[in-house]
Amino acid sequence: MCIGFPGKIISIDENNYAIIDISGTQREVCLDIIDEPAEVGDYVISHAGYAIHKIDPDTAKEKLDFLKEIIDHEIY
């Protein structure tokens, strides 16, 4: 039940609702309880009609770089 999806903000209206694109599907989510202010173009994790987290692209990249690194190198 705690499922959440990452989606990209396409637009935000005057009531603080955003349209987000989740791999081709558009959904409306409320931005009232998100942890950090989000803008069009940001990626957010949505759950039950609310955005609950703004993804920090740098943090995500760090993890992906790490995962790629373990493909290439023995790290111990």
Partner: protein, 362 residues
Amino acid sequence: MKYIDEYRDPAVVTALLKRIETTAQKISHTVTIMEICGSHTYAIGRFGIRKLLPDNIRLISGPGCPVCVTSARDVDIALYLAGIDNVIFATFGDMLRVPGTGGESLQKKRASGAYVRVVSSADECITLALANPQKEIIMMGIGFETTTPTIAAVVATCSKKDIKNFSVFSVHKIVPPAINALLADPLLNIDGFLCPGHVSTMIGAAAYQMIPDAGCAAVITGFEPADILEGIWILLQQIESGKKEVAIQYSRGVRPEGNTRAMNLLQSVFETTDAEWRGLGIIPVSGLTLQNDFASFDTLKRFDVPDIKSADISGCGCGDILRGIKLPNDCPLFKKICTPANPIGPCMVSSEGTCSTYYKYY
């Protein structure tokens, strides 16, 4: 699919499996890992992760499906409320087919004329309330810390807008007290916990400190194959080195401090209370009820609910499965009488229930 596909890359998965194997070889005993969250149970089944792991790693499922842990009594109360004249009973779809005492469900109630409305977001209740001023809208407030702030947001909005025909039947539960109950269970011997990703988005990492304090490994983990495998690898490293801590694997979804804005809202609307969990019994301060300031939004204060004689479904082993001491195969009804098309217990109803996942993927 950004932030999804990257974590399904076969090369990454293979590399992580190699790391897991190497680390597991250094551990001489069988390692028992519990995934607390139903979404993890589902993902582990769907991606076939159990079959990929070395023999000395045992994955067991915990009480992390809010639908599954809802007590028979709370299901019966929901059925009673949905049957009241003039009520629109709003619920997330997962609850629809959960049988109460005697086998009735919200779906059956709806078929016999009750106004049961499936919503995908609690804020649909605001529109419902405004469009139906002569009706009472009751929202079944179910879910862990991931979901409860969304219900709190709706209550706060209705309070601000002075909407008077909306209330919440709260069976919300909080996760850390359940983990404490599992840590204290002498029948369980868990070496490490995969902690739920999106509950942690809200509550942060410090909420799990009792896990390393009890000598167990802990990692907050995401839901894609690479996330889960890296989570398992992190647990193995903690177990091998003896250095236990609450690690965050799911860093793209979780800040160490959590979502303080959502948690502040939750705490301004709800307060803790004792709650009954299917399988775990009554756990102190593990449930949430509306605070006095919001009493008019509390369904149980607005409606008189008669004393209902509730009983767990006879023969259903969900209780033990939710505690991680039995597997679905241990239940004599599994696959024979109990199937997703004809679910006997909630663990078979919910797509994230352990029985439903085992039915589909094992």
